[in-house]
């Protein structure tokens, strides 16, 4: 081991997730469809990365590969130096809708991944995350009694409760109405600032990406390659009518091939 290697290893560059030459092909032979093509990305610990791209380009596939639900047909996903080979409670995928278990109460859902904890620890953890996503008073309610936004907050709470290193969010606010979506954005940002997890967030909403992300990864249309990575160099709280914000937003719109005017 050279001195340089020792230094980078011991100092820890904070790198969390690494995608190397990731390829994904659905089907076989003549009917095969390439979905991901040579995707390379490094995400550092505690970073908030948004992934945008034209619809159907393979954003969700990429997220499912990173979470270990789909085996890649080529390349590797590495987390903390360990190659991902399947789903794991250290990294939780939050789905767009219907992800909470309808047969469990709010408490039951948040405690779903906590079976190994003692009763007292579990109770504390549940109480903490009920508070974190502001579902106080609904502890014993079933998901059918919650609104769409509350269900998504519940899903995020259930994910955070198992203390994962990484959260993968697959258009988590995509099925919500505009106002709820904006509120949820603020909530997620607040939670991210207090809990400091690494977040990979797939969205088709450009504003969502510019408001939340440290960096925005733009994917090309299928087969998805990384077309560009934009660093959002605006401090929080972000002023959504500042020139820099609008500049970045325009840049992203241009990147995914949308004109300035309808």
């Amino acid at each position: 081991m050279s001195l340089a290697e020792v230094i980078t290893k011991s100092s820890g560059d904070g790198q969390k997730l690494k995608l190397e030459h990731l390829h994904m092909v659905y089907g076989q032979g003549a009917e095969s469809v390439p979905v991901l093509e040579d995707v390379n990305l490094e995400v550092s610990d505690g970073e908030f990365v948004c992934i945008v791209g034209p619809s159907g380009c393979g954003k969700s596939t990429l997220l499912n590969v990173m979470a270990g639900f789909l085996p890649a047909t080529g390349g590797t996903v590495t987390i903390d130096g360990e190659v991902v080979s399947g789903p794991d409670s250290r990294r939780i995928l939050v789905f767009q809708e219907r992800g909470v278990f309808p047969w469990l109460t709010v408490e039951g859902n948040i405690g779903f991944g906590l079976a190994k904890l003692s009763r007292e620890e579990r109770r504390q953890r549940i109480a903490h995350y009920v508070q974190a996503v502001r579902l106080q008073g609904f502890e014993h309610a079933y998901p059918s009694d919650l609104s769409g936004g509350m269900k998504q907050r519940l899903q995020v709470a259930r994910a955070l409760a198992v203390n994962p290193d990484i959260l993968y969010l697959d258009e988590p606010f995509g099925a919500l109405d505009f106002v709820t979506r904006v509120i949820m954005r603020g909530e997620l940002h607040r939670i991210w600032q207090t809990e400091r997890r690494t977040i990979l967030f797939v969205t088709h909403d450009i504003d969502e990406a510019v408001q939340l992300a440290d960096r925005v990864v733009v994917l090309s249309s299928r087969p998805a390659r990384i077309q560009d990575i934009l660093t959002i160099d605006i401090h929080h709280p972000r002023n959504i009518s500042s020139p820099r914000y609008l500049e970045l937003r325009d840049e992203l719109l241009k990147q995914i091939g949308l004109a300035y005017e309808i």
């Binding site: 639900f69 794991d88 939780i92 278990f101 047969w103």
Partner: protein
């Protein structure tokens, strides 16, 4: 006059009974006994102490046939639904057996079990087994993949996965299945008792006709069968109302 909504069906039934009695009084004949004669038949059966005995005999056979079918068909169906190869192997076979009426099994049942309770129980079992099997298979297949993925994501072991995701996810459909098959069991027991035993409500109907054309007792038997069938269905329905069971109906 305002009548509470739940009394309206009762009032309607009373009106029909009165109409029935009036029609019988105006055209006396051999077509059908009137409601008063039928009520007399029920009293007769009660006085001789056989009504209660026959009801218990029928319920005993239904309980055994239905429980055995559920105990075998549900685990097997869940397994076949989960492992797609199993389903591919068994599906054609099940589809061939399913449309065979349980009544077609009567000769086989008597050949295998002789005349008696076992034959009747076997017929009920056959009548319930295949519908329950198919319902259990489709219940597993219809679990949204999102629940399965969420379960895998939280690192559940296989046995935890079965008890904490698979089982609660299929419960609502299984309850509907049990309700349907209990109805089938109640249909089949009457037919089975007409042929293979000498007790029970089905036997009562055949016996009342053979032993002197007591049609008041025939219709009395039919009424009792209908009322008990209704009570069984209500009991199954009350199961569906348990909060953590009936989630699917409220979710969609």
């Amino acid at each position: 006059m305002k009548l509470p909504a739940r009394f309206r069906p009762v009032l309607f039934i009373v009106l029909l009974l009165v109409g029935w009695q009036v029609a019988i009084d105006r055209h006396p004949g051999q077509i059908l006994p009137g409601p008063i004669a039928v009520a007399g038949g029920i009293v007769d059966l009660l006085r001789h102490g056989i009504l209660f005995k026959y009801i218990v005999a029928s319920l005993f056979r239904v309980t055994w046939g239905f429980s055995l079918a559920a105990l075998l068909a549900i685990p097997l169906g869940l397994m076949l639904g989960w492992f797609q190869r199993g389903e591919m192997a068994f599906y054609p076979l099940i589809q061939i057996f399913r449309p065979i009426s349980p009544l077609a099994w009567i000769p086989i049942a008597i050949l295998w079990f002789g005349v008696g309770d076992s034959a009747a129980i076997f017929l009920i079992f056959v009548g319930c087994f295949f519908p329950m099997l198919l319902i259990a298979m489709s219940a597993v297949r219809n679990i949204p993949s999102i629940y399965i993925n969420a379960g895998r994501n939280f690192g559940l072991s296989s046995s935890e996965f079965v008890t904490r995701v698979l089982y609660p996810a299929v419960i609502p459909q299984l309850l509907v299945g049990l309700r349907i098959t209990l109805g089938i069991a109640w249909l089949v027991v009457v037919a089975a008792e007409m042929i293979s035993v000498n007790s029970g409500l089905g036997f009562l109907i055949v016996d009342a006709r053979n032993a002197g054309n007591r049609y008041d007792l025939v219709v009395a038997g039919m009424v009792i069968i209908g009322v008990i069938g209704l009570l069984l269905d209500l009991a199954m329905r009350s199961l569906e109302n348990v909060k953590s069971f009936h989630w699917s109906s409220s979710e969609e």
